[in-house]
């Protein structure tokens, strides 16, 4: 297993030498969404608190670092942590409101949706950051401003993001923190009865998750060069963030990565084959059908299924 991981890493490190810029772009988004999925995984997977408002954290992080860079001249290299901190603070507020009152399950889902929508509406009305027109970032290609001329540099940036988040989650998984989170997910009342301070650990999970997502906002801003409230705070982005870890297997270390490697290419393939004809929208129908199929055939997620298959084969 370890050797397999090292080999995979070797391949990923060497890939930019052989593939086109287009494939790099796809990989960049695979890594980036795996990173976001991993960040979500902390609270949504391990702690089992389903947030469908994670776009809010990305949006706060993205706007904070972009506005600081453009208006104050603060490098996004630092701005990304300011953005992360602000997103973490927002996560703390939402988490506190939700967890303190014991809002579980779907209540929490809807609370997070609502908060992301509040952010979207407010930023749409704040003229100082461009309102609904959005905030535009000048393309310089200057690495000091977290911009790169070469897609390969972006590739390594997102690879590092993904690996770092995965490393953090691996650490959490191995510590008591991770055990507590799993206990909360499985049976919160039982965990409480055993003396686990569930509020504290859920809050911690939320803050770590929102902080990481906020850091990711800087990549979004600097790679795509404009921010519109409807795009970066909108529900569609929140959905993009959650579907990969869910498909891959939420609450597992490699689920978000596997999910991203499955879904992003599938979206690409269906758009490529079905996006050319006159039936605009056919490719998204296909994508929707695929999501439904995943739920029906892999209800526990792809990674747990993969593990089971491998074990079954070993036994046989």
């Amino acid at each position: 297993m370890t050797w397999l991981g090292i080999a995979a890493l070797g391949v990923l490190l060497a890939l930019p030498a052989v593939v086109s810029s287009y494939v790099l772009t796809i990989l960049i988004f695979i890594f980036f969404y795996a990173f976001l999925g991993q960040a979500w995984n902390v609270v949504g997977g391990y702690a089992g608190q389903l947030s469908v408002g994670h776009a809010a954290f990305l949006g706060v992080g993205a706007y904070a670092s972009a506005v600081l860079a453009q208006e104050v001249g603060l490098s996004p290299w630092l701005g990304m942590f300011v953005g992360g901190a602000l997103a973490g603070a927002l996560g703390a507020v939402i988490g506190y409101l939700g967890f303190r009152f014991g809002l579980r399950g779907f209540y929490f889902v809807l609370l997070t949706v609502a908060f992301a929508e509040v952010c979207r509406i407010v930023v749409n009305n704040v003229e100082a950051v461009g309102g609904a027109v959005g905030f535009y970032i000048t393309f310089t290609g200057d690495p000091r401003q977290f911009q790169f001329r070469d897609n390969r540099a972006w590739y390594y940036v997102t690879l590092v993001l993904m690996l770092a988040a995965t490393g953090i989650v691996a650490l959490i998984e191995r510590r008591r923190f991770g055990v507590y989170l799993a206990a909360i997910r499985e049976d919160e009342s039982a965990a409480e009865a055993l003396g686990v301070d569930t509020l504290r650990y859920k809050m911690l999970a939320m803050i770590v998750s929102s902080f990481l997502t906020g850091v990711g906002g800087t990549f979004y801003a600097c790679y795509l060069l404009s921010l519109q409230p409807n795009a970066v705070f909108g529900i569609p982005l929140s959905v993009e963030i959650i579907i990969r870890p869910i498909v891959g297997g939420s609450g597992t270390l490699l689920g978000p990565i596997l999910g991203s490697f499955i879904l992003t290419p599938l979206a690409e393939v269906s758009r490529y084959y079905l996006g050319q004809g006159g039936w605009h929208g056919a490719h998204l129908i296909a994508y929707g059908v695929l999501l439904v199929a995943v739920v029906l055939f892999l209800p526990e997620g792809a990674y747990p299924r993969l593990v089971r298959l491998v074990r079954a084969r070993k036994r046989a």
Partner: protein
């Protein structure tokens, strides 16, 4: 059960690798210029994006039928189609994909945010990008800025579409000219706008131009609504309470269908409904849906010049191809962009990116079908200062140019008759 799943999974993965991993073999042997045509074909902005694609395709078919690009040995224009899904990350990926498939020029995208996401790709990969529709000023201005600052060597991004700020200036100018021409003296203008990307660009541009021009009329209030709205009745009551002489709406098609009937229902008595620049007030589908509620409404939009007989022919062909749609702002500007591109390629005599950029900079093209303030040229920002809107009015259930005077198809009706 599980083997089926696994097989399906492997197959899907293999298909993914096939497309992702290896560039497709070049199909056509005939000489072509490959143009990446990327628009918002699905998602919230699907409608205008599809119109852009249809307009561009019509233009390419006409150019190809007439023998292609002569200076390139009769090379045909071949589109590589892209769909941004109205998402910036998809826009960037689609740009990379079409370039990977050999796109030598990019065109698109209707949405300013999606367009901005393609800018770095065009700059990095040195693929000239002709923006057909997108109004946010920074798209080109930011590139010009970084070229000036020496951070970029060459500007590859150019736009043939009025920018947000130029829209506003023209709107205020036309308002003044129309009021003067008709001897009217309205005082109170209420701006009502969709608070989305385009709606607020337009509202801001109009307000800024009004502040600068200090005309005799006043903008008494600006009422933005969340787009898409579920209800505009209170907004209209609010506007009515301000006793406006003019309602200046900036809508999307759906919100226009809410707003205009509501103005009639609530008996908002005004001299006219004049938009500073807005979709939703002229499309064939909108006229069919809104009927009399649209009559006499004026709109300051980039519009085809129907005084040009060729425009009439093209519009008829477009209507035939699209099942009755109007050749309008989106389809028209995308159509013109392809002809501008053909003109550029004729003069560049090459598909080398820098040769194309040189040719773009020297453009003086007057074969466009839209209403222009002069030939198509590109200034130091990369914008065409002669891309201007025209004032159209719905008269007899048809959108007709009524201002500026030399492009007018019909005499304008203002104030609108009482009903």
């Amino acid at each position: 059960m599980s083997t089926v799943t696994r097989r399906a999974f492997l197959k899907a993965t293999a298909a993914g690798v096939a497309v992702v991993g290896f560039p497709l073999p070049l199909r056509a042997q005939a000489k072509t210029v490959k143009v990446g045509l990327i628009h918002t074909v699905t998602g919230p902005l699907a409608e205008p994006g599809q119109a852009c694609r249809a307009g561009a395709q019509l233009a390419a078919d006409m150019i190809n039928a007439a023998g292609g690009i002569t200076s390139l040995g009769g090379a045909k224009i071949e589109f590589l189609l892209g769909d941004t899904q109205t998402k910036s990350d998809v826009a960037r990926t689609e740009a990379e994909r079409v370039i990977n498939q050999g796109a030598q020029v990019l065109m698109g995208t209707f949405d300013s945010g999606n367009t901005a996401a393609i800018v770095p790709v065009a700059q990095q990969r040195r693929v000239p990008f002709l923006v057909d529709v997108a109004a946010a000023d920074p798209i080109t201005a930011n590139v010009a800025k970084s070229v000036k600052a020496g951070q970029q060597k060459v500007q590859y991004v150019y736009r043939n579409f009025p920018t947000g700020s130029s829209f506003g200036r023209r709107a205020v100018q036309y308002f003044n000219e129309i009021f003067k021409e008709t001897g009217q003296n309205p005082r109170r203008v209420v701006v009502m706008h969709a608070n989305d990307l385009f709606g607020s660009i337009q509202a801001k541009g109009f307000k800024a131009a009004w502040d600068a021009a200090k005309p005799s009329w006043e903008i008494v209030d600006v009422i933005p609504w969340p787009e898409p709205p579920s209800d505009l009745s209170t907004e209209v009551s609010r506007a009515k309470a301000l006793k406006p002489d003019i309602i200046a709406p900036i809508t999307r098609p759906a919100s226009a269908q809410l707003l205009l009937p509501e103005l009639i229902k609530q008996r908002v008595e005004v001299l006219g409904v004049i938009s500073p620049g807005s979709p939703g007030l002229y499309e064939a589908g909108q006229i069919a849906a809104l009927k009399q509620d649209l009559e006499y409404v004026m709109d300051n939009v980039p519009w085809p010049n129907f005084k040009n007989p060729k425009t009439q022919q093209v519009a008829a062909e477009y209507r035939k191809r699209t099942g009755g749609k109007t050749f309008d702002t989106q389809s028209g500007y995308s159509y013109d962009a392809v002809f501008i591109l053909a003109d550029v390629l004729e003069r560049a005599k090459s598909t080398d990116p820098d040769a194309i950029v040189d040719a773009i900079k020297k453009t003086r093209f007057s074969g466009g079908l839209m209403v222009y303030g002069g030939p198509v040229i590109f200034n130091d920002l990369g914008d065409n200062p002669n891309a201007i809107p025209a004032m159209i009015q719905i008269l007899g259930q048809k959108p007709l140019v009524v201002w500026p005077k030399d492009a007018a198809q019909e005499k304008l009706v203002f104030p609108r008759p009482k009903r």
